[in-house]
């Protein structure tokens, strides 16, 4: 499902990834662990084709993504990958439901269907009553669930999460783990970058991949 072969990623003076390889099969849930600055976020970005590797090849969901032109990389992302960011990255001016439907706006899906899909997801995640609220007035946990709904709205086979628990308390962390477990049950491939022990010890992961330089 996700396969990195001898991937090197260089920034001007830093090389966070050097000849890195990994393979994750479909439906697996994998935790990516490592020190701060070890390149976890970089791996997620590469998987989502948000950036290109300096060398090496990447295959995600049967596609070679290392050299995709921008336009195709975006389409690939739309179809195959849902991303959940550490700081949620919601658009503050929009309501919860508008944030969730953003990925669908350029598609041919009608407005009505878009809203229906969003409602179903919000129901599942327990934020249905917040649909019309501006996201900057939601609590941190609610914001994160909006971000999760946005990542799921295109029904992508791969979900990437970057430090999902870093700003959550223990109780919210448990709820999040339940959500992840539900995703796993649906057969999604999950790649979670974290150094939170609670996640590692919860037993949700099939495997832990450590990145060290």
């Amino acid at each position: 499902m996700i396969k990195f072969t001898a991937v090197t990623k260089k920034y001007k003076d830093i090389t966070p990834l050097d000849n890195f390889s990994m393979e994750i099969s479909a439906g697996e849930t994998v935790i990516l662990s490592g020190r701060s600055g070890s390149g976890k976020t970089t791996v997620l970005s590469l998987t989502a084709a948000l950036t290109r590797p300096t060398s090496g090849s990447i295959e995600v969901n049967g596609r070679q993504t290392a050299k995709l032109p921008e336009e195709f990389a975006a389409l690939f992302r739309r179809e195959s990958v849902g991303m959940i960011f550490q700081n949620y990255n919601l658009l503050p001016n929009l309501s919860a439901i508008d944030n969730i439907t953003i990925p669908l706006l350029p598609t041919k899906i009608t407005m009505k269907q878009q809203n229906e899909r969003a409602c179903v997801l919000m129901e599942k995640l327990g934020i249905a009553d917040k649909a019309k609220t501006a996201v900057n007035r939601l609590s941190g946990g609610e914001q994160q669930r909006v971000a999760i709904a946005r990542a799921l709205i295109n029904n992508p086979p791969v979900i990437l999460a970057d430090e999902p628990t870093s700003s959550l308390d223990a109780k919210l962390t448990d709820t999040l783990l339940e959500i992840f477990a539900a995703m796993k049950a649906e057969g999604k491939t999950l790649l979670i970058a974290t150094h939170d022990r609670a996640v590692a010890e919860s037993g949700i992961a099939d495997r832990i991949i450590g990145i060290e330089k």
């Binding site: 290109r52 590797p53 300096t54 060398s55 290392a66 050299k67 995709l68 032109p69 921008e70 336009e71 195709f72």
Partner: protein, 315 residues
Amino acid sequence: MSFLIPDIFVQLVLYSVMIFFLCISLFVGIRVILHWDISDTSETQYVLEKHTYLVSVLMKYIFAVNIPAFIIFIYANDKLSAYLTGAMCAAGVLNATIYGKYLMGLKIINLYLSAAWLTVNSFDLKNEALPFTYTKFSIIPLFFATFIAEAVLFVLHFASIDPTVPVSCCNVIFADNTSIFRTFISDNAIYLFAGSFALTVLNYSRPVIYGAANILLAVSGIAVLIYKVSPYVYELPTHQCPFCILQSGYGYVGYAFYITLFTGTALGISAGFQKLISGIAPKKMFFYSMLFNIAYLLLCAWFPLSYFFRNKTWL
């Protein structure tokens, strides 16, 4: 002086913007010709890819602006005919300087050229290997040259119009039968047009031939309009002119003729071209091309037929 007339001035403004954009395109084009290598993973190639994308946006802009600019151009020439002794319509004004004819020709060529470029472009962008990027950018210097030539001719044409010199107009220009070629075209316009139309219909399912037949159709369509249809619009057998039909006296019907003919044939040619280079036939384009061509045919038939039913005789 004439550059300050609003219609001409607007065109100068549009030319400046388009030339600015074409300079950027040329700059990118040269770098693509020198350095393009899709298999290269270096940062330079990646940046170059992003720049090629800019050029395709700029070319879309140029095409979108060029069409109304063309209409303003015809309109401006038409309006200037009021100032020139002897000129009744744009034909007289275009013929008033030695540049007019070539300017008109280049404008049409450039329109078709940019339409063709955009067709290749849309194909290129549909394939993630960007197989036609090199091809389309090798056309850019050519397009740049023809476009600059057009702009230069534009300035020369309007700068050298002299309102004190009498000119000849359409009745003289298009009735001129000293050239055998022209006489042949004018005598056989109907057959040529009918022939090319039949060719397009018969080859509707053979995309490449259909595209080629559309080139014939564009040319013979203009010929039949000048020599056979326009006299019925004017209801005057001696008046053969492709420009007077654009005037208010004839309800601006000329614009309908040209828009249907250009849309139909440009779509047809592009579609054939796409099939040729990519092997995929864009069904919708063929359909719309055919639709517009039929509309043109009906438009051409309407004027003679309605004249015949009213007067029980042909011109």
